[in-house]
């Protein structure tokens, strides 16, 4: 066994790689903020795994996308768990990324020599938002279709290249077959390749530079950390002189100081991984909880003719959505394209704006202030957006459908009721038209009829709906049918 190990090691050098990664020491005094990166990495791994599984059964064409997602959710054992995990994982990823970034900023971790680590991190944030934007379209439901229609319209107002940008994003003038195909390709081929590369660089840099020392400790020096024991240690670092902190330490001084912190710190395996694991476990349990308890809400199939649908983006884009409202039409693109673009650029260049050795947030009032304003702004806009945007509603014949009625409407599509009945002006005439049925029958009658047609009318040729449906489903259909007026042809226009 050992000989095989040695043979392999001589060829592959894995032992050295292992030692470099797992036996490295980290500085003393790390806290929970240093586990956020590992948790982010964990969720990325989860997204990759669940994403590959979803791709096994997904079809990226408008004719099939919605059905293939339904198939994953309803027909494949555990499919709903996989889909729901991927759905919640996306939100968790954004939350963790932002936390990771905010804490790294607060800790001054972007300062020398870790500028590149930070910059690659900003690119990772951008690519993850790209994943969120492209992934949102893939279920090809109402929410997906209309949010993407609006989202891809945004660049359209930009001068000169606006129309061109929209067509480039969509692969045509409308959101359609080509859009879905390119969003899917971006989501599963292009972005993952970029992600893998950036992630590799980011992690390699983390290992190369080591994680930063908590700012207060870095300033106080090791003498401030564990006085009694270290007083006689000749290597112990003194406190930094506040006079030197406006400028970065030179490389030699920096490395000498860092080495002293690292020499007394714990090892990556298993001490640091142990702390990381506790937090990962927490994240995992929360995700499983969301997956099982909330699941993914079902939405109706994308209907490009249904202009009454009020789309809204995924919650982490809501602040941009809200920002849109403060920029009048002609300069809208400034607010939604240029402003976020600039913000990302500034974020990317942060290490060059703030170069002094002072890492304590309390002594970085400008950076800390900007960060606070931006965070409050984003949170405020998000809250504002949720408070002021009406819930997604569908108005038909002047009636805003409740979620129960929406479900009924969707079930009617799924069950193919229109192959026998006219419903909302569309369908076959083998059975009676159901438009205006509320004026002929009571809710209880309609429900009872669908549940067992023969018991209601021995001559009925319709097959009972329970099973396959449940009483709740049948009631949802009933409630939707009750909203239909007798004459739907002229009322169709009223849905806008």
């Amino acid at each position: 066994m050992e000989r095989i190990g040695n043979w392999l090691d001589e060829r592959l050098g894995l032992a050295r790689v292992w030692r470099t990664i797992f036996h490295r020491h980290v500085p003393v005094g790390l806290n929970w903020m240093y586990t956020l990166g590992a948790a982010t990495l964990f969720v990325i791994a989860l997204q990759v795994t669940t994403g590959i599984l979803l791709a096994l059964n997904y079809s990226d064409s408008p004719d099939h996308a919605y059905d293939s997602v339904l198939y994953i959710t309803n027909s494949i054992p555990f499919g709903w768990i996989i889909r729901s995990l991927h759905h919640w994982g996306a939100s968790a990823l954004v939350v963790l990324l932002v936390l990771h970034m905010v804490t790294a900023f607060g800790l001054g971790a972007y300062k020398a020599p870790r500028e590149a680590t930070w910059m690659v991190g900003v690119l990772l944030l951008v690519i993850c938002l790209g994943f969120g934007f492209t992934g949102y379209l893939l279920p090809w439901d109402q929410k997906a279709y209309w949010a993407t229609t609006v989202g891809t319209n945004i660049p359209g107002a930009a001068p000169l290249i606006g129309a061109w940008l929209v067509e480039l994003l969509r692969g045509g003038t409308e959101v359609g077959t080509v859009t879905l195909a390119r969003f899917y390709a971006a989501h599963v081929l292009i972005f993952p390749a970029i992600l893998a590369f950036l992630l590799f660089v980011h992690l390699a840099l983390v290992i190369w530079h080591g994680v930063s020392v908590p700012p207060v400790l870095w300033f106080k020096g090791l003498r401030g950390w564990n006085k009694g024991q270290l007083d006689h240690d000749p290597d112990v670092t003194p406190a930094l002189d506040p006079l030197v902190t406006p400028k970065p330490l030179d490389a030699e001084q920096y490395h000498k100081r860092y080495a002293a912190f690292k020499a007394r710190g714990p090892r990556f395996w298993p001490e640091v991984i142990g702390d990381d694991t506790k937090f990962m476990l927490l994240v995992f349990i929360v995700l499983i909880g969301l997956t099982v308890v909330l699941g993914v809400s079902s939405e109706a199939r994308a209907d490009p003719t249904d202009t009454a649908y009020i789309p809204r983006p995924e919650w982490y884009f809501m602040f941009l959505f809200q920002l849109l409202k403060y920029f009048p039409g002609s300069v809208e693109w400034l607010g939604v394209l240029v402003l976020p673009g600039l913000a990302i650029a500034v974020l990317f260049l942060v290490p060059f704006f703030s170069r002094g050795e002072e890492r304590r947030l309390r002594y970085r009032p400008i950076g800390g202030g900007i960060m606070a304003v931006v965070l409050v702004g984003i949170v405020g806009l998000t809250v504002q957006a949720f408070v002021t945007t009406p819930p997604t509603v569908l108005v038909e014949h002047g009636v805003a459908l409740t979620s129960q009625q929406l479900l009924g409407r969707q079930l009617i599509d799924q069950q193919g009721c229109r192959s026998c009945h006219i419903i909302n002006g569309q369908g076959e005439t083998k059975g009676p038209s159901l438009d205006g049925i509320g004026q002929r029958l009571t809710a209880a009658d309609i429900h009872f009829y669908m549940e067992n047609p023969k018991a209601y009318n021995p001559a009925a040729s319709m097959t009972p709906l329970i099973p396959p449906l449940s009483h709740e489903d049948v009631e949802a259909i009933t409630q939707y049918l009750l909203t239909l007026p007798p004459d739907t042809t002229q009322a169709k226009g009223g849905s806008n």
Binding site: L53, N57, H64, S75, A263, P270, E271, G274, M280
Partner: protein, 192 residues
């Protein structure tokens, strides 16, 4: 300068042997804790993952479909087996597809019939009834020269079992068969 970034740099200078090899009780304990948490995550996430991937193996057999093959009178006119082609609509993942299928109707006299699934039991090629030539009076499969008699028994060649008979029903002068597909290449007749 790069020395300080490698495990062998000053960072590990003060460590004793046991500390470096990961054998202090604290490290062993931490190792177990990580392994336990990892196993927990692995099982909770792994169960659905594995179940999801292998689920096609546990799909329940498709129900057969009753197909109408034609008029009994027509089949009784000649003593020769006759081929019937039809299309089936089958669920295929999240879609429905139309698939062409064939069956052979063999008159057995007195208005009785045997109906065979049109796939060779070896690897599923389409066999045909021969009226002349070397294989006259047999079902011959061109792929690997499988030969069956008119009752479906294997006379020669690689087929591992006789032709698969289908359940039939005569109604209003119509011959109907319950069409099912069977696993190929094995000696027993197992419905898919």
């Amino acid at each position: 300068m790069d020395n300080q970034n490698t495990p062998d740099g000053p960072g590990s200078g003060n460590a004793c042997g046991a500390e470096e090899s990961g054998t202090t009780p604290r490290r062993v304990f931490l190792g177990y804790m990580i392994a336990t948490a990892g196993t927990f995550i692995g099982i909770v996430a792994g169960l659905p993952i594995v179940g999801y991937i292998v689920s096609p193996l546990f799909a329940k057999p498709k129900d057969g479909t009753w197909v109408s093959l034609g008029k009994v009178d027509e089949f009784s006119k000649s003593n020769d087996p006759q081929m019937v082609q039809f299309t089936l609509t089958q669920e295929d993942g999240w879609t429905e597809v139309k698939q062409a299928r064939t069956a052979w109707v063999v008159p057995q006299g007195g208005g009785n019939f045997t109906v065979f699934n049109g796939q060779c039991t070896h690897l599923g090629c389409a066999y045909t009834w021969q009226t002349q030539g070397e294989y006259a009076g047999t079902f011959h499969c061109p792929c690997h020269d499988g030969v069956y008699d008119r009752n479906g028994r294997v006379l020669s060649g690689p087929p591992p079992r006789p032709l698969d008979t289908l359940q039939i029903k005569i109604e209003n002068g119509q011959l109907n068969a319950l069409y099912e597909d069977f696993h190929l290449g094995i000696p027993t007749k197992v419905v898919i």
